[in-house]
Symmetry: C2
Subunit: 325 residues, 2 copies
């Protein structure tokens, strides 16, 4: 298959071509860069929704039900599932993915799992590029599902237009603490399994945390208090209760992004973040490639205590920059 | 306080100077670089132990009991507690830290919490530098406690000599999946709350996962099957049962690192990783500082679709490299 051919077939949403493009992007095979550049003019139409939350909150089930509603209104849906677990955990991950299997035979739904990469930042780049592929192939909605606990999950969530944070009543103390990190990136909150005991308390907690957040410096960067207040929606995903409300809240958030000055500023900020991330990734790639043997020599010198790591690093950076002249 | 004075007082382990140095490093204040360079000749003596595991596994309690044993043999102990949660979660975090409070009045124990930074990679750099400060001030053991779920927690764990993964019987499916990501970085496993139902099953699971791991490609990078097999130790931290065995296993692992060829290779790999991480962090800092206004112009161009983000990124990198000539 020629490169130009692949581009045409991705744009035409041929499932095998889309799968191939995603594999290319995931493995960063030669040609990835050219493919992404060629797809770029065809992107910018999808709404990207980040779905994150504690392990066990029922994210996959909620996504499954949301997909059903998007499909019912004719939207094609792409799903990128990101898991911070290794290839070894294949069993558990597969089990998880199966919960979305009600759409496995629907050609309007494309589900793809990404594994965690060794290199820091690798995963958010891959997911960013995978979003572009699914956008270019005409998926009106792209859902990126992560387990929202680490720094890169939060970074991935921030590449979305809207971030849905899923939580559930009655989690332990330490698990609750994790949630605080998610608070900052939530545009919409879903309290899933809301038929369980403790749902009212969980919602009160969230309301309190959001009101604290509104008063804090953090809120400024999120443009809260500027025409968007984070809704908290009760749902029971397994019974498809409250799911339409979640979808409606996300629709409203997308509209806010497109029309409200604060929403437009937020979109700009998101793009800026994306450019920074790409720049960081490409820069590190280029430097590691260019410096190869010098890096090893520097490690030798530090190991023998001939130089301290700070000086060694400065020297490497100077060498890299001089190479560009 | 002059810079040279601060260095001398850190080396003399004056608590206020150590706290000041850690604050400097955490906030990356001017002078951080010079301080770290001046401390470097005094580092390299501490054993760094990464402690990670699922939320709720009882890491803090286990650390508290381990500190008791290290103190009993005369070792000074530094603790760096890393939490992926925001300043908003102060309450929960404080509660967690309080579990280590039995050593709050002991001058031989220095406990410091680090918050998560916005910028990717920032946290692992801060923890790396904080380890150096605690090392230079004569702490024989430095414990770095993380919630082991994200990519950067795993990166932080990899800066340690030895990584202790704490798990517990009877966690849910999805939480178990998270554990798989931890498997690769475990040098010692502690099954805490081993008096609970399901402990035998949890240990069998781990044994199976480790034996699968030994057979996999992943094991090669960890130098398993080379004189070190990951021990699984039962403990009940709240009753100080099995804690001495955990400490003994970590001692044995440190000895393996210092004497076995595979252990030495592993230490070298760890240093190399550290140099790569520093290089990446410094490079990104330098580039973002140098490129400032050009970055904004690039975002403008992409927003107006005058240029695609891939070309914009390449242009920025070329500009940065030319600036070094």
């Amino acid at each position: 298959v020629s490169a130009a051919d692949l581009v045409q077939r991705v744009i035409a949403n041929e499932p095998r071509a889309v799968a191939r493009a995603l594999r290319l992007v995931d493995d960063r095979m030669p040609g990835t860069h050219e493919l992404l550049r060629a797809l770029w003019p065809h992107t910018g139409r999808a709404t990207v929704i980040g779905v994150t939350g504690n392990p066990g909150a029922g994210k996959s089930t909620l996504c499954d039900r949301m997909i059903g509603l998007y499909r019912a209104r004719g939207d094609r849906v792409g799903v990128i599932a990101v898991d911070p677990s290794s290839p070894l955990s294949g069993g558990a991950i597969l089990g998880d993915r199966l919960r979305m299997s009600s759409h496995a035979l629907d050609e309007g739904v494309f589900i793809r799992s990404l594994a965690t990469r060794g290199e820091l930042g690798g995963l958010s780049r891959t997911s960013r590029d995978a979003i572009r592929v699914l956008d270019a192939s005409g998926h009106a909605v792209v859902i990126v599902e992560t387990v929202g606990v680490g720094q890169d999950e939060i970074e991935i969530a921030s590449t979305a237009h809207s971030t849905l944070v899923v939580t559930t009543p009655g989690l332990g103390d330490e698990v609750q603490a994790l949630k605080a990190g998610l608070l900052e990136c939530a545009d919409v909150f879903a309290v899933n399994k809301a038929d369980r005991e403790g749902a009212d308390a969980a919602i009160r907690d969230l309301e309190l945390m959001i009101s604290l957040g509104d008063a804090s410096v953090l809120a400024l960067s999120r443009q809260n208090g500027s025409g968007w207040s984070v809704p908290i929606i009760r749902c029971v995903a397994t019974r498809t209760e409250g799911v339409a409300e979640v979808v409606a809240a996300l629709d409203r958030h997308r509209q806010w992004l497109d029309t409200h000055p604060a929403g437009l500023a937020r979109r700009r900020k998101r793009l800026e973040q994306e450019v920074r991330s790409s720049l960081r990734d490409e820069l590190v790639d280029t430097a590691m490639r260019d410096l190869g043997p010098h890096l090893n020599a520097a490690v030798d010198d530090i190991e023998a205590r001939r130089v301290d790591p700070y000086e060694a690093t400065s020297n490497l950076i100077m060498r890299f920059m001089r190479a560009g002249s």
